[in-house]
């Protein structure tokens, strides 16, 4: 099986293929046992790594912070009243509007970073050296996991429905 076919299977599993292409893959799976076995392994791997990602939760919605920044930009880009288009007052008004926009962004980033610094039980470090392995490291516990998602031909697990792994 080529690497392109493996990637296509992963995309099929993730629901990322167009309808026509997904039908073609489904037809291929019905005829190719090796491909079907690989799809099964990918499903197992996805299930095994459930709850893998821990999303960062902001105290308020993303839209709220961006709306504040957008407002500042609109203020800055709105045409100044005729009576204030010239002179030092207009200059400082624009300067503070821009500074306010940057300050809002900095506050949003600081809040996001301080939220993210709360102790988390795991920091995910994922490396995909090839399509067959995934690496995870928990810095707190000092444990590193390398998950091999090859089909059963990895030679470690027996092919029979064994109760051991010998």
């Amino acid at each position: 099986m080529t690497e392109e076919q493996q990637i296509k299977l992963q995309a099929f599993l993730d629901g990322e293929l167009a309808e026509r292409e997904a039908r073609a893959v489904a037809s291929w799976l019905a005829q190719d046992a090796e491909a079907a076995a690989l799809l099964g392994e990918l499903k197992h791997t996805r299930a095994a790594l459930a709850n893998f990602e821990r999303p960062i939760q902001l105290p308020e919605t993303r839209e709220f912070y961006w709306s504040k920044i957008e407002r500042e930009i609109q203020i800055e880009s709105a045409p100044a009243p005729k009576s204030r288009q010239h002179g030092m007052y207009a200059f400082w008004r624009r300067a503070f509007a821009v500074a306010g926009g940057f300050a809002s962004l900095a506050v949003a980033l600081l809040i996001a970073l301080s939220t993210g610094r709360q102790p988390r039980p795991a920091d995910a470090e994922v490396a995909l050296a090839d399509t067959g392995t995934m690496t995870f490291r928990n810095y707190e516990s000092g444990a590193t996991l390398v998950w091999l998602s090859y089909p059963a031909e990895n030679g470690v697990a027996a092919g029979q429905p064994a109760t051991t792994i010998q």
């Binding site: 095994a48 516990s141 590193t144 697990a157 027996a158 010998q166």
Partner: protein
């Protein structure tokens, strides 16, 4: 007499230095083959529950299984040459020193199925794993020996 004593002293110093150098270059490791499952009991009577500290480290990993049984365990020493350790008739690891890190190869049925290089400080554990039949998994755990 004085010259003989000096020679003897130098020989003793040299021997002591060589011994300490040899000891420093050796690294004692432990490899365990572990079966991971959702069942509280293993049908294999030869299985025994994995060590508590190993179970704790495995529980910190994002794998769904909650029970871990030790299939086999081997202590070995890594020196200048690669150490080959058979954990079962289908599974083996080879470990070679690579500067401050270790080059680790996982073999299945005699073929290398994974190779990587990383450090393994005391207190840490490297776990190589994959799916096994019956909704279970095999794990190979490597750590420094006590």
């Amino acid at each position: 007499m004085t010259m003989n004593f000096k020679k003897l002293f130098a020989a003793i110093l040299l021997a002591a230095f060589a011994a300490s150098a040899a000891t420093a270059a050796e690294l004692k490791l432990e490899a365990q083959l572990i079966w991971a499952t959702g069942d509280a009991q293993s049908p294999n009577p030869k299985h025994k529950p994995a060590e508590a500290d190993v179970q704790k480290k495995l529980a910190s990993l994002p794998i769904k299984w909650t029970h871990f049984f030790e299939e086999s365990r081997k202590d070995f020493t890594v020196a200048a040459d690669a150490a080959h350790v058979d954990l079962s008739d289908r599974c083996a690891v080879e470990v070679k020193a690579a500067g401050e890190k270790l080059e680790i190869s996982l073999l299945g049925k005699g073929k290398v199925i994974w190779r990587g290089t990383q450090a393994l400080p005391p207190g840490e554990i490297l776990v190589l794993g994959g799916n096994a039949p019956g909704d279970s998994a095999w794990l190979v755990a490597l750590k420094r020996a006590n």
